[in-house]
Amino acid sequence: MTAHSTDLIDQVLSITPGSHLDKLRRHREVARENIQKAYLALFAPVDTTSVSLVERFAIASFVSALQAQPVLADHYASSLARLDGGPGISAVINAEAERGATAGPYGVYPAGPLSAENKIGLHFAVSSDARKFLGERLATALDHAHLLVFRPRDSSRAALEGLIKAGWSTEGIVTLSQLVAYLAFQLRLVEGLIVLASAGIQPVNNNAVTSINPVLSASSNL
């Protein structure tokens, strides 16, 4: 606790030791440490046999651009650009992310009572020129990443079959899925902390509590 080590989230948000956000984060110290460990497991992995480092940062760069969170998008884009061949890929990825911009979640439920909630939206596929440049394996991963970011409920066996056909192993698909899903998590943690910081420090006496009705008072005693 005394060794105030910083992690990626501290770095991108410029969180300083002892600040309000630092204290809030350290309230769940084990989570804080393991969120960083998951980041390192994905982006400084012990084994890159199933998914290369360039693939990891290319996918992260695409996903974080789609998620439209500037500090994270900058972090992954600049990480990609530092890798061999990264700058060329980065330019193509940015153009594809612009083509893929939309708002989620949307998608189709299994036929039945939820069909009334079906929301149709973009089914993105990397353009044919970009597919030639990136290769079918990475391009298919980006297609899949778009699906996971915006319309996870459209997921299907067929989508995984597409990945397998493009050269993805089971191990690789698990890592790819974890990577995109982790970025969905990281985005929300970062956004939540940014908004909390901009909302200012909460007053100690929250007199708004007195306005809640008796039913709610009961529920807040849980």
Partner: protein, 202 residues
């Protein structure tokens, strides 16, 4: 257009949100118990998770799984301060309802019900969706989870103000954020690597 299809090729068995117990079946081959190395066992954290096809599938990347599991337990089970467990589960349920993860919603709606003793309110969240009126404190938590789950995220100072007005401290608000964020992770794995199946009638 790639080969991605909107519909699973087989008729899905579960097509509504429920608090009933469901099973989950993977679309890719999980590790077999006989294949587990020490590295995989470390990734599973709890030996009992070797019985779960979901965790045995995720064990293909053991380092990520281990970190994820330890973060999960701290976010949801750490009893020290912060949001009551029932409301952490409410946040997970609302997130899963918004993203459309029927399996995740089934598990965490049961937890929300058992910890809050408000089974019928939880059921209304599943039946009516995230707009259901569950009383202002739960409405505020649900609205925050929904705003956080939009992509791009639509969570802003209005949600913070509403949570504070409902009596949540900033530690509790961070728990709302973490639990909803975590289910944006979980939903994407559960939805994309397999599907829920109704338990066999015994």
């Amino acid at each position: 257009m790639s080969a991605i299809s909107a519909f699973p090729t087989e008729a899905p068995i579960v097509n509504a949100f429920t608090q009933e117990e469901l099973s989950w079946t993977p679309w890719l081959e999980p590790l077999a118990e006989s294949e587990l190395t020490d590295r995989h066992r470390a990734g599973l954290v709890d030996a009992s998770r070797a019985k779960s096809p979901y965790f045995m599938l995720l064990a293909h990347d053991p380092e990520v799984l281990e970190a994820r599991t330890r973060a999960d337990k701290d976010i949801f089970y750490n009893p020290v301060g912060g949001l009551p467990r029932a409301e952490r589960e409410l946040s997970a349920t609302a997130t899963s309802r918004h993203n459309g993860c029927i399996f995740c919603a089934s598990v965490h709606s049961r937890f929300a019900s058992s910890h809050s003793k408000r089974h019928e309110d939880v059921q209304r969240l599943l039946d009516e969706g995230t707009g259901a009126d569950l009383g202002e404190r739960w409405n505020a938590v649900t609205a925050a989870a929904v705003a956080l789950s939009d992509t791009p995220v639509s969570f802003d100072e209005a949600e913070i103000a509403r949570l504070r007005a409902a009596g949540l401290s900033d530690f509790e608000i961070v728990d709302v954020v973490s639990t909803s964020a975590f289910f944006n992770w979980a939903n994407r794995l559960m939805l994309s690597l397999g599907e829920p199946v109704a338990p066999k009638a015994s």
